[in-house]
Structures are given as structure tokens and as C-alpha cells.
């Protein structure tokens, strides 16, 4: 392991389910005309990273060869291609980890997050950002404005997820919004919904500590989910949070079946539901309620045009704050430890530092 760490491009690699290691990967070539070579500085860990580690796959994405992990990163520009104009060597950037094909119908209609040929960092077969070097196109690098730290830059990825979810939900000023799940994405959805003018933001979780944090972070109200029927849970939520006829918008950031069911019952007639969280692929769903309440339901997947920039702008203009979500930082050599902590549900967002120079 130490050999790899002394190498030219030490990289944190998942060889197969359960097997983490360090490899000295080849140093990338000089960046192409429109590309940027970045040295990642801080990388956050997400539930999906842990899932690959434990199961070696997510759906039909299977780890068939050793893969560098990491996709929530910020870094420092090390080299730029000759057509690059928006960043220069030394700039600090947030890195958008998924590059689409730019040629298909989805890409050209403005939904590049739905591109069938998306190359996404640390989704097999593409390597991720937990290495000394990472190459990406200029338009997927976002220069951090003055006063924004690299740690905050690493939070832009989950913030962009929250921005995309909030936009899918079309949260508008005056709305009441319920967010199921007070993990990082749920918390960020509360913060972004607030920035989009929601007047009541209800955080829901089974964990009291998380709910407490959410209340002082961005939520205005809270609810602890109980083990009762979804209909009763929904009714209680409406009553306790003072939601009148029901919430205007509910966002699920858990993927948990009881949450999804409760949500449908907690929405008002004509309300909007957005599925952001990922859990069981198939669940029992209250479709009659969804139908008779004429609920507007949407999925939400990663982030699309404008979301990353909006995330940077929201943090830079202090409409939202992400610093307090960073509950731990470890050195590159301690990456596996960080993964173990996230797996154990500790903290909110743990950041892994890039390899030492």
C-alpha cells in the first residue's frame, strides 16, 4: 500500500465488493483542447459509494474491474487544454463528475442527466476522483468564487442534487414543503427549498438527533415518523406540522417504503411529489390516493443543466450554508476508515483529502 501511496498517481480503488486498496494509476495525458487536469483536494462520500463497496454493484452497474472511487470533489487546476478560457492553472474548482455524450436527443433537448451514454465518475466502468489527478471538460469545472473554500466546493455535488430535486418539485415562494430524510441530501433539500421561498419546511426522520440538527439548519418544523399505518402517519404529520389541507410539495430523500407511502397521504389535493431517495426497487404504493388527489409525481436523477452553477451561486451568495454539514475530515491514507464511518451512519458529510504532494 505504501508503494502505491508514494507513486505518481496514488488512487483509492475498489477491486471488488469488500476489497479496498491503493493503486498507482498511470498519470493522465496532457488534457485535450477543451479539457482540464485537476488535482482533487476534498472528496465527500455518498451512500452510493458505500453501496458499491458493500455490494459491488448498483442495479445493472457492476464493478467488473478495479475502479477508482469518489465523485463529490473539489480541486485545484493543474493544467488546461489550449482552447480552455474559463479556468487557469491554480484555480480552485468544484468538479461536476458526469459527462454526457452531447449528441443524443436527451443531451440536445436540455436533459443531459438522462443521457444513455453518460460517463459518470465512480460508476462502472469509469474511474472516480480519489486520486492525485482527474481530467474533465472545462464546462464541467466551476471556478469557486472568492471566499468559498475547497471544503465547501466538495459539498457542491450533493447541493446540486438538492437543487435538481427542488426544481423538479417547482418549489415556489409561499409553498409548504415536507422533506423525508434528514441525511445530507434531505438537509440540503430543506436549505434549497428555503432559498426558493418555501415558507414552511418540515423535516421528517426516525432519528431524533438528525431532526434536531435539521431544525437548527434549515427546517421550520419537524416530525418523527411512527410505526403506524401510512394513512395515520400522514394525518399526524399534517396535524402536528400545521399543514392545513396537506403539504404543497413533498420530497422523499430516503427511498424508504413507509416514507413514500406516508408522503402520498400527507400531500394536499393537487400537490407535488418528487422521488429523490433510492431504496427498494419495487414497493407497495398507494396509487388510489395518488390518483384521486391528482398528485403530480416526478422522479429526480442527479443534476442537469444549470444545477451545479446554481448550487455554487447559492453557497457563494450565502443563501445556503454547507460548512456545518462537514462533520469529519480524514487524510487520503485513511479513506477506508471514512468509508466505514459513513457505512455505520456516523456524522453527516465526511471529506477525504487528496493525496499529499
Amino acid at each position: 500500500m505504501t508503494q502505491a501511496l508514494q507513486g505518481k498517481n496514488p488512487s483509492f480503488v475498489l477491486r471488488a465488493a469488500g476489497e479496498l486498496t491503493y493503486e498507482d494509476r498511470p498519470v493522465p495525458d496532457q488534457p485535450g483542447a477543451y479539457d482540464v487536469l485537476v488535482k482533487p483536494r476534498w472528496t465527500g462520500i455518498c451512500g452510493s459509494d458505500v453501496h458499491y463497496w458493500v455490494h459491488g454493484r448498483i442495479g445493472h452497474f457492476i464493478v467488473e474491474a478495479p475502479m477508482v472511487l469518489g465523485h463529490e470533489s473539489s480541486g485545484i487546476v493543474a493544467a488546461v487544454g489550449d482552447k480552455v478560457t474559463s479556468v487557469k492553472v491554480g484555480d480552485e474548482v468544484a468538479m461536476e463528475p458526469g459527462v454526457p455524450c452531447r449528441r443524443c436527443v436527451r443531451c440536445k433537448e436540455g436533459k443531459y442527466n438522462l443521457c444513455a451514454d453518460m460517463a459518470f465518475a465512480a460508476t462502472p466502468p469509469y474511474d472516480g476522483t480519489l486520486a492525485r489527478f482527474y481530467t474533465l471538460p472545462e464546462d464541467y469545472c466551476y471556478k469557486l468564487p472568492e471566499g468559498m473554500s475547497l471544503e465547501e466546493g466538495a459539498l457542491i455535488e450533493p447541493t446540486a442534487v438538492a437543487v435538481h430535486i427542488t426544481r423538479q418539485a417547482a418549489v415556489k415562494p409561499g409553498d409548504s414543503v415536507v422533506v423525508f430524510g434528514a441525511g445530507p441530501v434531505g438537509l440540503l433539500c430543506c436549505a434549497v427549498a428555503k432559498a426558493y421561498g418555501a415558507k414552511k419546511i418540515v423535516t421528517v426522520d426516525i432519528n431524533e438527533e438528525r431532526v434536531k440538527f435539521a431544525l437548527q439548519y434549515a427546517a421550520t418544523d419537524s416530525f418523527i415518523s411512527a410505526r403506524v399505518s401510512a394513512e395515520e402517519n400522514g394525518k399526524n404529520l399534517i396535524e402536528q406540522a400545521g399543514l392545513g389541507m396537506g403539504a404543497d410539495v413533498i420530497i422523499d430523500a430516503t427511498g424508504a417504503e413507509p416514507c413514500i407511502q406516508t408522503a402520498i397521504h400527507a400531500l394536499r389535493m393537487g400537490g407535488t411529489y418528487v422521488q429523490g431517495g433510492m431504496g427498494k426497487p419495487d414497493i407497495t404504493f398507494p396509487i388510489m390516493a395518488m390518483c384521486t388527489k391528482e398528485i403530480n409525481m416526478k422522479g429526480s436523477f442527479r443534476y442537469g443543466p444549470g444545477d451545479y452553477q446554481t448550487a455554487v451561486d447559492l453557497v457563494a451568495t450565502k443563501r445556503i450554508s454547507v460548512k456545518e454539514l462537514v462533520t469529519g475530515k480524514v487524510k487520503f491514507e485513511e479513506a477506508e476508515q471514512a468509508f466505514a464511518e459513513v457505512k455505520a451512519g456516523k456524522g453527516i458529510k465526511l471529506l477525504i483529502e487528496g493525496p499529499a504532494e
Partner: protein, 372 residues
């Protein structure tokens, strides 16, 4: 001294200045990247913008460079060669060509409005985006559209103006049952009207000052027509139009659902604002004077939704091809003449003089695939 084009390997129609068109043997382009295709140009159509360049030597003060600019942007062709990553077309395929390739990297491109890309390379745009009046043309795979067997290469030229119509109707949000008025009965007006019909418009009304154009429209698609009278103001013309349509009530409180303005004429724009109902929709696709007198209070009090409309973007070409392939819109009927390549200037003059609807130029001598 000009050599006859039959001696040239890649004869191209190059504009230098107003009235100064020369036929030159330009170097044939080659595949630049694995997603490129090489196309033999078969036919090119004439558009008002070609005539503008030909007559005035510029558009918006953008002139051909001293080395000249190959003209033409409404084109059909046959695939000659494909890059290694091309999967959707093969040599020999007949294609309609979308003449503007955007950068794919900027905000507009990624937002799904690539027609607004600041780095758009559009056929026959100064200084150096050469057009399609040439032997061999190179572009990206996703900007050529394979045409079915039954659709000819001449018809394929009409995909371009039909796409303008598709774009306008989509921006206008025309829905089933609507009453749609199209101002201007040139090629674009006709296309907008035909597409509006296919989008389910309950009534489509074409408006023009030239009776002959309206007569053609009535024979071409199911529509109503109206000819405004010269010397009558926009409110009066609007009132008469609504009267003819049987839409009763005071002007300002009643009107049609949607107007697509395809003439660019100030009087037509003013009439359009008056003929719309409160809450109605307006799309400006016609190009005329840059600054006009505009009834802004009427527009504001009626809370009209107004949108600009520029060329075409994501999905428009596909839909246009589909309309032609499924014989839902008969574009062949608009083809009025086909001139040989050497008579390009004559074709431009036909359009300039208001003769015909769509005048074509035959570029390739034979409609067969040739080996490069």
C-alpha cells in the same frame, strides 16, 4: 476567368459581394472527427436570406470575407463516407441536412436551446462557415437525417423550412381545438399553418396582402384566408378578420388563441396584437425591420404571451422529417422550379422577384451515389 464547373472536382458557388457570384473549385472537405459524415450535395433551396445576401451583399452588416463565402443552407444530399463512430447513416443514404452545428458545450447548448449557441456555425454565415452550394460537404452525424426511400431528394430540401414551422408552432404551444392565425403566406407561413393543423388546431387562418398566395394555400391545406385592405389600420383589419371568422364581441375582449407572425411587416404585427384574445399567444418568426411601432399597451392589458422564434432546435428536424415521411404535409407542392447549378443566380432572382414558392438548385449532376 471562370472554368466550366464540369471540369471542377468540387464546384462551389461563392459569393464575394452583392451581385458578385463566382463558381470556384474549392478543396473538398474531409472527415474531421469520428462522428463526422461526408455528404454529396444533391439539391439546395433558395430562401429570403440568400436573396438578401445576393442583393445587399450582407445581413446585419456581416459580409463575406475577401476570400468569398459558399452560399446555400437548405440542402439534401447523399452520404459518401462516415467516421468510425457513426452508426445511424451509411454511404448511399439520402439525407436532409440541418445546416447549423452548435458548440455542444455552452449554457445554451446544455439548456436545450442550441439554436441560441453563440458559437453556432451556420451554413453561409460570415466569416467562414461555408454553405451547401458545393460538391462535398462535411458535418456531424446527428445533423443529418436519413430520409425514407419514398421521399425524394428534392422534397428533402423542404425539411429545413418545415423545421422553422415546427419550431414556431411548438413555441406557440398550439393545442387541439385552437384558432390559429398565421400572418404571411410565404413558404414559412404555409409551413406554420400546415404544422398548426397537424398539432390539432381547430381553425387555421392565413393572412396575406397577395391574393394569389392565399389561393394557393386554400388548395394546399384545409384553411381559411383573409386579405387585409391597404389603407385600413391594424384595429380595423383585426375587426374585419374577427368578423369574417364569426368571432363576435368588442375588439380587445375577444379574439383568436394564437398568432404566428411570419411576415415581419409592421402593419401585420400590429394587426396580430389586435386580433388576439386576452391571454392569447404570439410568436414572432418573420423577419423585417428591426425597430417598429408596437401597440404595447394593448399587448400588456391583454396579458399576451409573446415569444421570439429563431431557426429550430432540439427535436424540430425529427418532427419535420416525420411529417414528410408519413405524408402528413405535402411539401412537394411547394417546389416550383429546379435550376442547374450554373444558374444559381437565376434561381435567386426567381425568388427575389416573387416567382414561385420554393425554387431549387440541382447541385449534383446525377442523383446517384458516387465514390469519393
Amino acid at each position: 476567368m471562370t472554368s466550366p464547373t464540369s471540369q471542377m472536382t468540387n464546384p462551389s458557388a461563392v459569393l464575394y459581394a452583392a451581385g458578385d457570384l463566382r463558381f470556384e473549385d474549392r478543396p473538398a472537405p474531409s472527415l474531421q472527427d469520428p462522428y463526422d459524415v461526408l455528404v454529396k450535395i444533391n439539391f439546395v433551396g433558395v430562401c429570403g436570406s440568400d436573396v438578401h445576401f445576393w442583393t445587399h451583399g450582407h445581413i446585419n452588416n456581416k459580409r463575406p470575407p475577401p476570400t468569398g463565402l459558399i452560399m446555400g443552407h437548405e440542402a439534401s444530399g447523399t452520404i459518401l463516407a462516415t467516421g468510425s463512430c457513426v452508426t445511424r447513416v451509411a454511404p448511399g443514404d439520402a439525407v436532409a441536412i440541418e445546416p447549423g452545428v452548435p458548440c455542444r458545450r455552452c449554457k445554451s447548448c446544455k439548456d436545450g436551446v442550441y439554436n441560441l449557441c453563440p458559437k453556432m456555425r451556420f451554413c453561409a454565415s460570415p466569416p467562414d462557415a461555408h454553405g451547401a452550394l458545393t460538391g462535398v460537404y462535411v458535418t456531424a452525424e446527428d445533423f443529418v437525417y436519413k430520409m425514407p426511400e419514398a421521399v425524394g431528394l428534392q422534397e428533402a430540401v423542404l425539411v429545413e423550412p418545415l423545421s422553422v414551422g415546427v419550431h414556431a408552432v411548438r413555441l406557440a404551444g398550439v393545442g387541439p381545438g385552437e384558432c390559429v392565425v398565421v400572418m404571411g403566406c410565404g413558404t414559412i407561413g404555409l409551413m406554420c399553418a400546415a404544422v398548426a393543423r397537424r398539432f390539432g388546431a381547430g381553425r387555421v387562418v392565413l393572412v396575406d396582402v397577395v391574393e394569389g398566395k392565399l389561393g394557393f394555400a386554400r388548395g394546399w391545406i384545409e384553411c381559411e384566408t383573409f386579405r387585409p385592405e391597404a389603407g385600413r389600420g391594424p384595429e380595423e383589419n383585426a375587426e374585419r378578420l374577427l368578423e369574417q371568422l364569426g368571432i363576435e364581441g368588442p375588439l380587445g375582449l375577444v379574439g383568436v388563441d394564437t398568432v404566428i407572425e411570419a411576415s415581419g411587416a409592421a402593419s401585420s404585427i400590429q394587426t396580430a396584437i389586435n386580433v388576439l384574445r386576452p391571454g392569447g399567444k404570439y410568436v414572432q418568426t418573420g423577419l423585417g425591420k428591426d425597430k417598429i411601432e408596437f401597440p404595447i399597451v394593448t399587448m400588456s392589458e391583454k396579458e399576451l404571451l409573446m415569444r421570439g422564434c429563431f431557426r429550430y432546435s432540439s427535436g424540430d428536424y425529427e418532427l419535420a422529417v416525420s411529417f414528410i415521411a408519413k405524408r402528413l404535409i405535402d411539401v412537394k407542392a411547394l417546389i416550383t422550379s429546379v435550376s442547374p447549378f450554373e444558374e444559381t443566380a437565376k434561381a435567386w432572382d426567381l425568388t427575389k422577384n416573387g416567382q414561385g414558392i420554393k425554387n431549387l438548385i440541382r447541385v449534383a449532376r446525377l442523383d446517384t451515389r458516387s465514390v469519393l
